[in-house]
């Protein structure tokens, strides 16, 4: 039914191993070529690992699905060299408005801190994200993509897994030292390892309608005439055009708008998907005379749940296969990309024999912690949007009614708290501060970007970190003040390179020093996934070596 997008069809090719009946062993097999599987394949390949990526289909996501992408995943994709086309094509926004009936009762601004390379949020249809990632993966010499390769069975052994894969040419088997399962919320792989996936189910059904509107049409509609020309997120509680329920409106590229209608618990999903039901709902909202084209419709329910352990022997779970959240807050794809970011460098060090499997346990420590944070935020938003009892509905409505006059009630309104990274404050890889530091860059935090001058050009901290190591990545010692005597510090097969602020790069605006509380002598140890691992007020090799060892789980 899509009118603005033509779905690509990727070629199925029988592998030589299947054709010749060979049992081939692969260092790394990724299951599922969605945004997370593609990101993880690209990250692992750039770090030097050969990747076999399998997907049971041969195209990108059907429908726009995940449409909001936050700063941190954009920074990760920028490290992987794929962010620029996404940011160019995506719709930037930062203002959210909340209405009760047709009255504006609350407005939030993501108010991104100035002088970061990446925007706070873009909206972009998932198929564009996937297509960009597929192009990058297909072009990478270390990635082999098997389209129409469906995993049908998996057996775990001591140091590998045995996979049975079904293709149009029948079934064959292959061995994998490591498997990363990114096969989504309904992950078959999860069932194959016997993992549990528990949490809270929500009974409310929601209708997604993507509609194509010519520019300016929304400003003509009565319900949306207040919509400015800047893209914003609009959320209605109990609007006149959809009584007793909520509605969410988001702009995507190609003049496609996402409208999300809450339908309640008793809605019939098959009936509600029919154009003869959907079109009148949209006409109620826009008025009967305004022209639109229906692009994609989906009726969904959701759950907030996670897998009990992110790693089962040789099988590691990421993305929705590991944790599922409600859509309010854009926490699904955004957190999945951060799973990939966290896992790739660790897996590379383990496969290379530099670190032990204990390093992979820290993937569970850090990403399960983040998943729980996302689940908490997502569940809270869902409870506000879709109250489960008469009294919680009354509490919710009391908040909304108070909020139009009373500033105190506005922070209680929860139409979804938008995805921000969860710092790994309790990670066993962190080294605790041994001196006072101000500011947000506590060990376990992702590196906040800052403008720098490098070789006479304007650049960004994250760009400099990427350029310093190349795609393979590495550890960095960000050293403020006088240049340390050493260019790097090595221990146990890894090495951290010094980046001297004042020598190698110039903090011309002083924002780097401000954001990291950098004083002359300050040293920040940065992981390959651009997270702070440790920081000190002076350059002491013994302490740096100990922190590096801790950072690869060598205790």
């Amino acid at each position: 039914m899509s009118k603005s997008y033509t779905y690509p069809e990727f070629p199925y090719r029988q592998s030589a191993a299947q054709r010749e009946g060979r049992l081939q062993r692969h260092p790394l097999v990724v299951i599922g070529a969605g945004p997370i599987g593609l990101t993880i394949a690209l990250d692992c390949a750039q770090r030097g690992l050969p990747v076999l990526l399998l997907d049971d289909n041969n195209t990108v996501s059907f429908g726009s699905r995940a449409v909001c992408y936050a700063k941190r995943p954009l920074e990760i994709w920028d490290r992987l060299g794929v962010a620029a086309p996404l940011v160019d094509k995506g719709v930037r926004w930062q203002v959210g408005k909340v209405f009760l009936e047709d009255e504006l009762i609350y407005r939030f601004d993501l108010l991104p801190e100035a002088r970061h390379k990446m925007p706070a949020m873009i909206n972009l249809q998932q198929y564009y994200v996937e297509q960009t990632l597929v192009d990058a993966c297909a072009a990478h010499p270390k990635i082999d993509i098997g389209w129409k390769h469906k995993l049908v069975a998996l057996q775990q052994h001591e140091d590998h897994a045995r996979l049975t894969v079904e293709t149009p040419d029948g079934r064959f088997e292959l061995l994998a030292d490591w498997v990363i399962a990114c096969d989504g919320a309904n992950s078959d792989t999860r069932n194959m390892v016997g993992a549990s996936f528990t949490g809270q189910f929500f009974e409310d059904r929601f209708l997604i309608a993507d509609v194509v509107l010519k520019p300016g049409v929304l400003q003509q509609a009565k319900s949306t005439s207040k919509l400015g020309h800047e893209p914003e997120r609009w959320f209605w509680f109990d609007p006149p055009f959809h009584r007793g329920q909520s509605v969410l409106l988001h702009k995507q590229c190609d003049d496609v708008w996402r409208i999300d209608f809450q339908l309640g618990r008793d809605a019939d999903p098959e009936l509600e998907k029919r154009p003869e039901r959907v079109i009148p709902r949209i006409q109620q909202m826009l008025g009967p005379e305004l022209p639109f084209e229906l692009e994609w419709v989906s009726v969904y329910q959701f759950a907030c749940r996670r897998i009990d352990k992110l790693r089962y022997g040789r099988v590691i779970f990421a993305g929705d296969a590991a944790h599922q959240v409600s859509p309010f807050g854009a926490r699904g794809a955004n957190t999945g990309v951060q799973d990939a970011d966290n896992l790739a460098w660790k897996l590379k060090l383990v496969i290379d024999g530099v670190a032990s499997e204990a390093l992979l346990d820290s993937y569970d420590d850090e990403r399960a912690f983040a998943a729980d944070d996302n689940l908490l935020n997502s569940t809270r938003a869902t409870d506000f949007i879709s109250p489960k009892s008469r009294v919680s509905l009354r509490l919710r409505n009391a908040v909304l009614q108070l909020a139009s006059q009373e500033p105190f009630a506005r922070p209680l309104i929860n139409s979804g708290r938008l995805s921000t990274p969860t710092p790994y404050l309790r990670s066993p890889l962190n080294t605790a501060d041994d001196a006072p530091f101000a500011g947000p860059m506590k060990p376990g935090s992702n590196c906040v970007d800052a403008p720098l001058r490098h070789q006479g050009r304007d650049t960004w901290l994250l760009d400099v970190l990427n350029a310093l190591h190349g795609p393979a990545g590495g550890f960095t010692l960000l050293a403020f003040g006088a240049r340390p005597a050493l260019e790097s510090v090595a221990v146990a097969g890894i090495s951290a390179r010094v980046l001297n602020v004042g020598g190698d790069v110039d903090d011309a605006e002083g924002l780097l020093a401000q954001r990291y509380d950098g004083q002359p002598g300050t040293v920040i140890l940065i992981r390959p996934d651009q997270h702070v691992a440790a920081r000190w007020r002076s350059f002491e090799v013994g302490k740096i070596r100990a922190a590096l060892r801790r950072c690869i789980a060598m205790h």
């Binding site: 009354r394 509490l395 409505n397 009391a398 908040v399 009614q401 108070l402 009373e406 105190f408 009630a409 209680l412």
Partner: protein, 69 residues
């Protein structure tokens, strides 16, 4: 500061009368909404999460105690 369990309202009878009279001429539904809003207004005024937690627990425990007796 912990939750105050001791009498703290000057002119308790007058306050109680005001509370009851605030619901005059309201439907049951409106009266319930008023009480709910009052909870939110006072909770914001208190602000202190420890005190609020103690107050919520007290209201719940007291309710459950009556439900089982």
């Amino acid at each position: 500061m912990p939750l105050n369990h001791q009498p703290n309202i000057v002119d308790a009878d007058g306050f109680y009368q005001e509370l009851v009279e605030s619901q005059r001429e309201l439907s049951d539904e409106q009266a319930e909404m008023l009480t709910t809003k009052l909870v939110l207004i006072l909770a914001n005024h208190v602000g202190d999460r420890e005190v609020l937690r103690e107050a919520i627990a007290l209201a719940r425990d007291n309710t459950l105690a009556y439900a089982t007796s």
